[in-house]
Each structure stands twice: as C-alpha cells, then as structure tokens.
C-alpha cells in the first residue's frame, strides 16, 4: 500500500505517529479515502510505533475561492467530510478555515522566492501540462496556498509526517524542501 517513504524527521514522540492527510473539499468525500487509514496503520508498523493518529486537513477555503462558492455551498460539502471521515478511520478532522487564520498574500508569497519555474513545471499533472496555454497565474497561487496550509498544519497539530497519494509525489518532494523536517509516506492509490 505504501509505495515508499522518506523518514528523516526528528520525532518528538517516537511512540506516536501523527500523520496529516490533506484533501481539497471540492467534491463530497468518497469511500476510496479509507485506503489512507489503512496506510497509516502500515506506516505505524514500519516505524515500530505504538500508536498512529491520522489527521485529515480538509481545505474548504481554496475551493470556495476557486469555484466562487458561497460559504453555505461550501459548508454543505465540508460537513459531509466531517461526518464521513471518522467512519473511514480518520482520527482527527480539521477544516482549513478553522486553523489557517492568516490568509493574506504576505503570509504565503515569500515561498514563491524559493521555487523555480522549472521546478514548478514538474509539479503540474500531465493533464494540466497539455493545456498549458490556458493556465493562469492561479496555478502558482494554488500551489503557494497549499504550502502555506501544510506549514501551519505541521506546527499546529504537531504532525510528524504526511500521508500522500503517489500521484502528488513531486509536490510533496518540493514540500520537504520548503517546510520544516517531516516524514512523507507515498501511498499507492491505483
């Protein structure tokens, strides 16, 4: 289930793994997400830890902005994440609108100085590369926002690592370059 992992962070609580899983609340949650609690358990065994706590980081801010949703429209979808994810085995559910207090440009633009355009291009999925002429600067904005969310979550929830889909491999390899030390477990999702 776990394709590979990078575990280098100095764990403050080696007996308890605290893993974050970030998801964009664009559409209602689906059952396939149950793979992540299973992967978290596998990560626990690999690490030889006694316990694992899997925190869902549900981004309800970006879809609201990117899809021009009203707060109420987004709330309907976010509520379904809050309701379903514990049943699938997630231990904590955190909405980004609850824990990211500073959504101002000055908070996340500085990350843009540390990423080159070539590196960014590698992060884009093939589906976007094929329509590259239609992409806007919001591709960059979305990337910076996601980094900002993860940075806050790592500190706020004392996460030791992140659990991510293998398709987002390049993004999370970049995240490791930009953010404080943390482990990453790449999960085979296909």
């Amino acid at each position: 289930m776990i394709a590979y992992s990078i575990c280098e962070s100095p764990l403050t609580h080696p007996n308890v793994l605290r893993l974050g899983f970030s998801i964009w609340a664009r559409n209602p949650p689906k059952d396939y997400l149950s793979i992540y609690p299973k992967a978290a358990e596998e990560a626990r065994k690999r690490a030889g830890s006694e316990n694992v706590s899997l925190c869902a980081l549900v981004d309800d801010v970006w879809p609201m902005v990117a899809l021009s949703r009203t707060r109420k429209e987004q709330q309907n979808i976010s509520d379904r994440f809050v309701a379903l994810l514990p049943d699938l085995g997630f231990h904590e559910i955190h909405l980004v609108s609850d824990f990211v207090k500073d959504a101002a440009l000055g908070a996340y633009l500085p990350h843009a100085t540390r990423v080159t355009m070539s590196e960014f291009w590698k992060l884009l999925p093939q589906s976007k590369k094929t329509i590259s002429d239609n992409l806007t600067l919001n591709e960059i904005l979305g990337f910076l926002w996601h980094i900002h969310v993860l940075e806050i979550a790592l500190g706020e929830f004392r996460l030791t690592g992140l659990l991510v889909g293998i398709r987002s491999e390049f993004f999370y390899l970049m995240t490791r370059k930009l953010l404080p030390p943390h482990d990453v477990y790449f999960v085979n999702t296909s």
Partner: protein, 416 residues
C-alpha cells in the same frame, strides 16, 4: 560664450504650475527614451489638472549613483508642475525581487535591510528632489493584507504562458538559470500598486518596460484607464565603453561623492555622452536641443565643464559650488597649478617607502589598488621640469614636489 549651466540651474527653482500642456511636454520628452504614448500623455495632462504620477523603487541598495537619479529628475518636473507624486517604496516587492535585467535571481531582502536601505536612499535623492513633494507609500501596506479572493481574481486574468514570455526570462531559462515563481508574479504586483493608487502616469527606466506592460494590462482588466508610461534611458557609465553606469563596472558617479570627485568624473566622460547627460540632469526644452547640441559639437570641453558645474550645483542649488569646482579643476588640470589646499599632507619617516606611506594615508581601498596604480605609471611627482614616474620603492626622503596619484589625488610629504 553661452552659459547653459547658469541658464538651466536658474530654471531649477521655477514653478511650472499652470504651464501649457505642450510647453510641459516639451520639457518632459527630452528626458524620455520611450513614452507610451505621447498623445495619451498630452490628453491626460489636459484632462487632469493634478495628475497622479507614480514612481516606484525597490530599496535594494543603500548607496546610489547618478544613474539612479535620472528618473528622479523627470519626476521632479511633474512635481514642479504641481502634480501629485506617489513615491512607492517596494518593501513588499523587494521581498519578491524584481527580475528586470538580471541574468540571475535577486536575493530577497529582509525587512531590516529594507528599512536601512530606505533611510540612506531618501537621504540621497533628497539632494535632487524636495522630499516634501512626495507622497511616500510602502506597498506592503496594501499588498500584504490582500485576501486570497482578491489576489485570485487578479491572477485569474493573467495567462501563465504569457507571463513567462518575457525575453529576460527566456534568456535565463535558455542558460539554465532559475526564474522564481515570485519573479513571474512581480509585474502583476506592480500593477496592483497602480490600481490601488489610481495612477495616471508612471515613470521608470526603459529596462522596466516589461513590468510596465504588465501594469497597464492589470489596470485595463480592472476596468481602469491604462497609465501612461514615461521611460528614461539607462545612463551610460563614465568610461564610455557603452556599459550602463554601475558600481560593479566601476564607471559610476556616486550621489554621495564629493563635489571634486563628481566634477572630475563628469569631466572624464567621452564627448558623445555630454548631450545625454545634459538631457538627463537639466530641464532642457525640445526647442533648445538643436542649439545645445550645436554648442556641444563646437565646444565640447566647455560644454563638459558646464555640465559638471551644473551637476555639482544641482545638488546644492548654488551655482557658486559648481563654479568653485570648475575653477579648481582648471587650475589643477589646465594650468597644472597645484596649491596646498589641493594636497593631502602626509608626515612620514624619510626612509618609509612611498608605497607604504600612501597605504597609511587611508585614501586607498587596498595596497593592491595602489600597486596597480604604480604599475600603470599613475603615481608621479610633479616638479618644475614636468612629471616623473615614481616606483613604489622610492622612499619619502627622495621625493621632492607634489605627488599625483591617479588623475585627481595629490599628496605632499613632510619628513618626520
């Protein structure tokens, strides 16, 4: 002999409030390499009794040279005509780094560096423009708190491929040099400044063209009338090898240089630059250009002395300061007459080598700089018979007369 230095300096203190549109444009255009567009400039001046004129700087360096002052001199013309000057200090954009004319990325500045640089920067430009005429803004004030929704709405209108199509970016990528995401966003942030301030006219160097085009686009997409752009040339350095004035090329005249140094360096520029320097630093009207160019062509040495006089005097607004330097320069170099005031007196043991004595004077950056001057036969003793080249091993006791080091530094030795 026509005295352009006195004529132009007298013009410095004039008020141009209420000046006819064509008359004002006639003063503005000689300072510009490019205007987008002149017709719109005339129209804007006609429509707005008080134009909102923007000039922005990123406080990336603490000490500036007169090349940096060129757009300030244009800005000053708008201020004299009573227009509203928005002076943007890019404390936010400096954290991002302007990619303009860079073959590598700029290092973003810390907030502490920005504050320190700004203090020294404003002290220096204050010699050329009355700081009270400026409405100073720090762009972090509006850029920093922009919400995700606000910035999204703007970024959504900018095509990523188009933003990457800048020739400087493409050149860097061809050379496998990095272009940061922040640099790609830089022009958009400048555009947000213009939208925020409702800018009518923006001033800057010609190297800012690509950023300005982005500004105009952002304004258009925000439903505003595009700003008019006035771009000044990039001042060529004193050495005359075609390179822009730059500290790294060593061909610059520092704003904080002494009057003597300024005068001397201006006198070292090639004749073909005299006209460009006059246009940059004096209020020359279009109708005067022909006469000025003819004067320069017929009397290049006199024109250069007047230019140097003007640049020195522009700092203090006293023609006497410029004329004093001119008199001193002519005495030293035309008449080869050096008086005690021109010399730095050094007291040394008679057996000290001249190299060591000059190093101890503290007038040179390093011993190696001095060695180079000796190697280039630039250290000479001046006496009644003319000039004699000195070697570094000569001791102070053997030297009789004034020692000239390089073109403009003079020393007199007294044995202890």
């Amino acid at each position: 002999m026509k005295r352009f230095d006195q004529q132009f300096l007298a013009r410095d203190s004039e008020s141009w409030v209420g000046m006819e549109v064509d008359e004002l444009v006639g003063f503005l255009l000689p300072k510009c390499q490019e205007v987008i567009t002149t017709d719109r400039l005339r129209q804007k001046i006609s429509e707005h009794p008080t134009l909102k004129v923007k000039f922005g700087i990123d406080p990336t360096a603490s000490e500036i040279h007169i090349g940096h002052v060129v757009p300030i001199m244009l800005l000053r013309q708008f201020a004299k005509a009573g227009h509203h000057i928005d002076f943007i200090i890019g404390d936010f954009t400096a954290r991002v780094g302007d990619p303009t004319a860079r073959d590598t990325g700029r290092v973003p500045l810390s907030p502490e560096q920005i504050v320190k640089n700004m203090e020294t920067y404003t002290n220096q430009i204050g010699k050329y423009i009355d700081l009270r005429m400026l409405h100073i803004h720090y762009n972090a004030k509006w850029l920093n708190p922009m919400t995700l929704q606000e910035i999204f709405a703007i970024f959504q209108q900018i095509n990523l491929s188009e933003a990457m199509q800048r020739e400087d970016f493409r050149a860097r990528m061809r050379n496998e040099q990095a272009v940061s995401l922040a640099e790609v966003c830089y022009g958009v942030l400048m555009g947000i400044d213009s939208v925020h301030l409702g800018t009518h006219v923006e001033i800057g160097g010609i190297d800012q063209l690509l950023n300005f085009q982005q500004c105009r686009k952002i304004m258009r997409q925000s439903g505003m009338d595009e700003e008019v752009i006035l771009m000044t040339p990039i001042l060529e350095g004193t050495s005359g090898d075609g390179k822009k004035m730059s500290k790294s090329y060593g061909n610059y005249v520092a704003v904080n240089a002494t009057h003597e140094d300024k005068f001397g360096k201006i006198m070292s520029i090639p004749d073909r630059l005299i006209g460009q320097y006059f246009r940059c630093f004096a209020d020359v009207h279009q109708r005067e250009l022909e006469e000025l160019d003819a004067f320069i062509g017929e009397n290049p040495m006199e024109a250069k002395k007047q230019l140097a006089t003007l640049i020195v005097a522009a700092e203090t607004q006293h023609i006497e300061d410029g004329l004093r330097e001119r008199e001193s320069f002519e005495r030293k170099f035309s008449q080869k007459s050096i008086c005690n005031e021109d010399c730095i007196e050094l007291t040394e043991d008679a057996n000290t080598t001249i190299l060591d004595a000059l190093v101890k004077s503290g007038q040179f950056k390093s011993k190696s700089e001095l060695r180079r001057l000796f190697d280039q036969q630039g250290v000479r003793v001046m006496n009644e018979d003319g000039e004699v080249i000195l070697s570094p091993e000569i001791v102070v006791g053997q030297v009789c007369g004034v020692v000239r080091v390089g073109k403009r530094r003079f020393f007199q030795f007294v044995t202890a």
